[in-house]
């Protein structure tokens, strides 16, 4: 295995980001099902906080994706 130390660090960072994204996604799936259940039960008050929290979770996922993308580009840069 000819893996360089910089690549190893990059892989570790990407692994951590992926785990975080998976956790956020699980929370977001639960949030969607809970909001839908609440809506179908006639409680429409939950729709606004549900959408806001879902937007925050998506923003976090997108930020982590950008982080993964950046780390990947840096590690691939010649000289690393």
């Amino acid at each position: 295995m000819n893996t360089k130390p910089a690549q190893n660090r990059g892989l570790t960072a990407i692994d951590g980001a992926m785990v975080l994204i998976v956790i956020l996604l699980i929370v977001q799936i639960w949030l969607l099902s809970a909001t839908l259940e609440s809506y179908l039960a006639g409680h429409r008050d939950a729709a606004i906080p549900g959408a806001v929290i879902s937007a925050v979770l998506f923003a976090a996922c997108f930020a982590l994706y950008r982080f993964v993308d950046r780390i990947d580009s840096e590690v691939r840069r010649p000289g690393n």
Partner: protein, 170 residues
């Protein structure tokens, strides 16, 4: 002799087949991360759809509809009617001389028609054995998760009048 290589040097196949496992893992993980992020966006769209449905939800105006003469239903008797539209079947039950209850007849599980089970004094959905309380329409047993919407009744002279629905989801 150029084809002799030292054992510690990079093997010849590495020069000709320069695919590195770590590089492949980077690409695959980045694609998977993109997929997860798109899934997250899908969840957000779902939540926004629910929000849009909540905002533009039309306010249902319930008409006052006479549904039965009180004397026409004996104690323990049942009458079917439609409220608030002709496509919304409901069930009216007389529990006592001066006590009437009415609920939507659509089971909150899969919309089968519920009926009054007089011996057990409860509403039953025969499709999947869901049972509802005759007192308030709450779920007693079975797959339904939500109570039956209740029809609010008023007495007007000798008539029972449906005035609105409570606990309706749509």
């Amino acid at each position: 002799m150029g084809w002799f290589r030292k054992p510690s040097s990079t093997p010849l196949w590495r020069d000709e087949f320069s695919v590195f496992t770590a590089d492949e893992r980077y690409v695959n993980r980045r694609q998977f991360t993109k997929f997860l992020t798109l899934t997250s966006f899908g969840m957000l769209v779902g939540n926004l759809w629910i929000l849009a449905k909540s905002v533009v939800h039309r306010k249902v105006s319930y008409p006052r509809v006479p549904i039965a003469a009180m004397d026409a239903i004996p104690v323990g008797g049942v009458k079917m009617f439609s409220y608030p539209t002709a496509n919304d079947p409901c069930i009216l039950v007389r529990l006592a001389v001066d006590r009437f209850v009415a609920f939507s007849q659509k089971c909150t599980h899969l919309s089968c028609a519920v009926y009054f089970e007089r011996e057990q004094n409860r509403l039953e959905c025969p499709c999947h054995q869901g049972f509802f309380s005759i007192e308030d329409g709450s779920v007693l047993q079975g797959p339904p998760q939500r109570p039956l919407p209740r029809v609010v009744l008023e007495k007007q002279d000798a008539l029972l009048v449906a005035v609105r629905m409570e606990g309706e989801s749509e």
